[in-house]
Amino acid sequence: MAKKKNKKAGSNGLTLQFMPFSEIAKLNSLDRIKKLLKIILNNKVVVLQGRLKADEETRLIEDTMIMVGNISGFKGVELAVISQDAGEIGKFQKLKFGLAKALTGAHNSLTIIGPATIIKEMKKDPKKLEMMIR
């Protein structure tokens, strides 16, 4: 199979695309991942309100690995999720967040995904997330 070329790989600059969860809320897992990877292939960093489901995160890694082998210049992604630590909130708050999550998705989280050709590293600790650009 001929390798596809990622035309924009290696271009300078940083573009952040903020995405409300409603943009992907009604999509199935496959389409959610497709949508995110399409943006990443355009050399943009996605800042998604909320987070993917656990199985969607692994599916994203699987699809990314397939793309690394097939799209020239694509080296994978950097991914980080920051969310409110459930251990730090009270029972009532937990119930409130749990209900909100069930109704609208996990909106107390923020997911950052970008191409590894642009993001060198994302350093995370419980209180902060640092994004290092190449």
């Binding site: 489901k53 656990a54 199985d55 995160e57 692994t58 890694i61 699987e62 990314t64 690995m65 397939i66 690394v68 082998g69 080296k75 994978g76 992604v77 950097e78 991914l79 980080a80 999720v81 251990g87 590894a116 994302m122 350093k123 995370k124 600790d125 419980p126």
Partner: protein, 213 residues
């Protein structure tokens, strides 16, 4: 009649479940020491190694396993199928393999990178076959990486029991407390697969884990 049937069914499954070997997976990021730990267990109980170990990331690029590994702890014994998996990562850059420490030429590096990507996919696909999983993390580096969180999150979603091993406690920078803080809801045991430090505590934790499987 129904009660009798259920009782017979339960006894049947209990009897055969105890005889069955437990599929125990070793998951984690590259270079955390999964193969070193699997080798240590195999060496302790079968006298043989399971795979090759190296300082170069993605040394394990295929799932490898050893069946019928009988581990004994305090006069009890359990049979395991040890499944060592390639390290999971979100990026693989062949140019990393060409850096001075690894000294690979471009062709070798590209081949290794291709195999590494396939290995990551294979690791993920094996998740469903596990009865229990040991997530191996390097205790000397930041444990809050998304790969660790994603692996643990997936295991929880699939209801697979997890034990977190903070490996490389022989290193000065190792910080088991930091790993415990990153995964407060899980059992964490600090070990050195290389020197065997704390290995008895590890086997005790493996037996506790097997009970949940």
């Amino acid at each position: 009649m129904k009660i009798l049937k259920n009782f017979a069914k339960r006894m049947f499954s209990l009897f055969f479940r105890k005889k069955k070997e437990i599929s125990l997976g070793f998951y984690g990021p590259p270079n955390a020491g999964k193969t070193s730990l699997a080798n240590k267990i195999c060496k302790d109980w079968t006298g043989e190694d399971l795979g090759t170990v190296s300082n170069i990331p993605h040394e394990t690029r295929n799932v490898q396993f050893k069946e019928e590994v009988e581990i004994k702890y305090k006069e009890k014994s359990l049979k395991f199928k040890l499944v060592d998996t390639p390290g999971i990562a979100t990026k693989v850059d062949y140019e990393d393999f060409m850096k001075k420490r690894m000294k690979m030429n471009k062709k070798e590096a590209q081949k290794r990178a291709k195999e590494a990507t396939k290995g990551i996919i294979e690791s993920i696909q094996w998740l469903d076959d596990m009865d229990a999983v040991i997530v191996v993390v390097d205790a000397s580096i930041n444990p809050y990486s998304q790969v660790n969180v994603t692996i643990v999150g997936n295991l929880v979603a699939r209801k697979i029991p997890v034990l977190i091993v903070a490996n490389k406690i022989d290193l000065k920078k190792a910080d088991v407390k930091k790993v415990e803080a990153a995964f407060p809801e899980y059992d964490v045991v600090g070990i050195s697969a290389k020197s065997g430090k704390n290995i008895n505590e590890f086997y005790e934790s493996v037996f506790k884990l097997a009970k949940k499987a």
